[in-house]
Symmetry: C2
Subunit: 298 residues, 2 copies
Amino acid sequence: MNEARIIDGQAFAAGLRQRIADEVAALKRDHGLKPGLAVVLVGEDPASQVYVRSKGEQTLEAGMHSLTVRLPASTTQDELLKVVGELNADPAIHGLLVQFPVPDHIDPLVIQSAIAPAKDVDGLNPVTIGLLASGQPALAPATPVGCMMLLEDALGDLRGKHAVVIGRSNLVGKPIAQLLLRANCTVTIAHSRTRDLPSVARLGDILVAAVGQPEMVRGDWIKPGAAVIDVGINRVPSRKPELAAQGKTILVGDVRFAEAKTVAGCITPVPRGVGPMTVACLLQNTLTAAKRQAGLPA
Amino acid sequence: MNEARIIDGQAFAAGLRQRIADEVAALKRDHGLKPGLAVVLVGEDPASQVYVRSKGEQTLEAGMHSLTVRLPASTTQDELLKVVGELNADPAIHGLLVQFPVPDHIDPLVIQSAIAPAKDVDGLNPVTIGLLASGQPALAPATPVGCMMLLEDALGDLRGKHAVVIGRSNLVGKPIAQLLLRANCTVTIAHSRTRDLPSVARLGDILVAAVGQPEMVRGDWIKPGAAVIDVGINRVPSRKPELAAQGKTILVGDVRFAEAKTVAGCITPVPRGVGPMTVACLLQNTLTAAKRQAGLPA
């Protein structure tokens, strides 16, 4: 039996970060422009702290300006809006995101709506979403952009392919459906209410799993030869009982990889698939935003 | 052979307009609130003049305040933006639309983006589109809303049904896909680049044709028993050669009705299907906007 080609997102992301760093160096040299990314963290969520630190480090490694604003969990919505307003106006900052989740007393939609669309590198402002949905130039959320890059690298032209997206979140499912539609795929959006999900999944020349359910997509859900993009990152107990008993965990995707790789034409693993693309694409969005704000082609 | 049930959009729209008129009367009586719709027409496009007159008449018939602003084709973009700004601020106006197309020297996106989202009864401002795409309360474009009303009237709960939308325009295809997704359908968006469109169309328990191609969808594209919504309104030569020779025309949809009605479970005709729903849903949007602006449940 043929095994699927493994799409190495880790290697692709490393190459992408290098290309971004080269472009940043050229921007500085030719235009005196240093792209800057600001990340605002409210509160002490441990996972968020890890993400924010990683974003800051990778921003610096790409040669960009990095600003991390840490605010206490007691920060009011108005105080946060004031910080966002200052960063919107700061000419050294070209990309700006507030790390979610925010504390319960802050309305995420109010914050997302306050971020200047030109700097909205997370692509969560309804204006940004609307521009993307209308086919206008806009920054798309980083994870969907990363998925598209891996797909285009693996398959070339996506036109006319039937893409099935399982999951309809605002952060992943819906924007990746928009990007696949823009790439001239036929797009099916499936979700928890879909009847006979395995049959619907099997329609896909491209299958994107973005549901957050460990190993939900089985081998027989996959059309033979399909490209499978697994966006899920789920932490589950180790498969080795003695390690599981010690509380050891592993990361798995939304796709049962061992089954899927005997059916698919190519597939992203978890980890080292889509995950590493997310921060790299955030940097790419920051670079794109900086060029657009400077009136350079992007 | 069973024949499809004909979905009588004309009768449904008449009933809807009556319910709107009743609710408008109650709003005036109980809250002293008279919903108002402003329509701005730039230039002399003959079809636009017909549409604008019809919108004004039906607005008055529903007991609402109707304002039609007619501007010369030479109106500059800045002048039009000033008019939009005044109507945005006018407390007697709850719904506001600019009739498209506008003259070439005016950028439609700039105008659409200037209309206050709360008054955006055409649902074309990217903010409105983004709110709708994010599952937030927002005014959806009238034609898609009309299609959803007819579907829910014909089928009841749409949850879990596979809906296929042929066409991906910002005005119809994309927003109806959003509304079908919100109604918990599995949604496939097909278009001119879709491979084997007949097979994809046959997936649909619901098939929405919104392509603007006369009678493109044939009987064998339809899953037996499916609900078919034909959004197309295409003017073609009369089928009777002697009338065609005199330049007589008829209206047909995007679906070959005579074939489709032998396969479908129910189907909208053209004319008297989706068409009459559009202005009725514009009035519904104006009513919803008025209630929301007054802080009433809508």
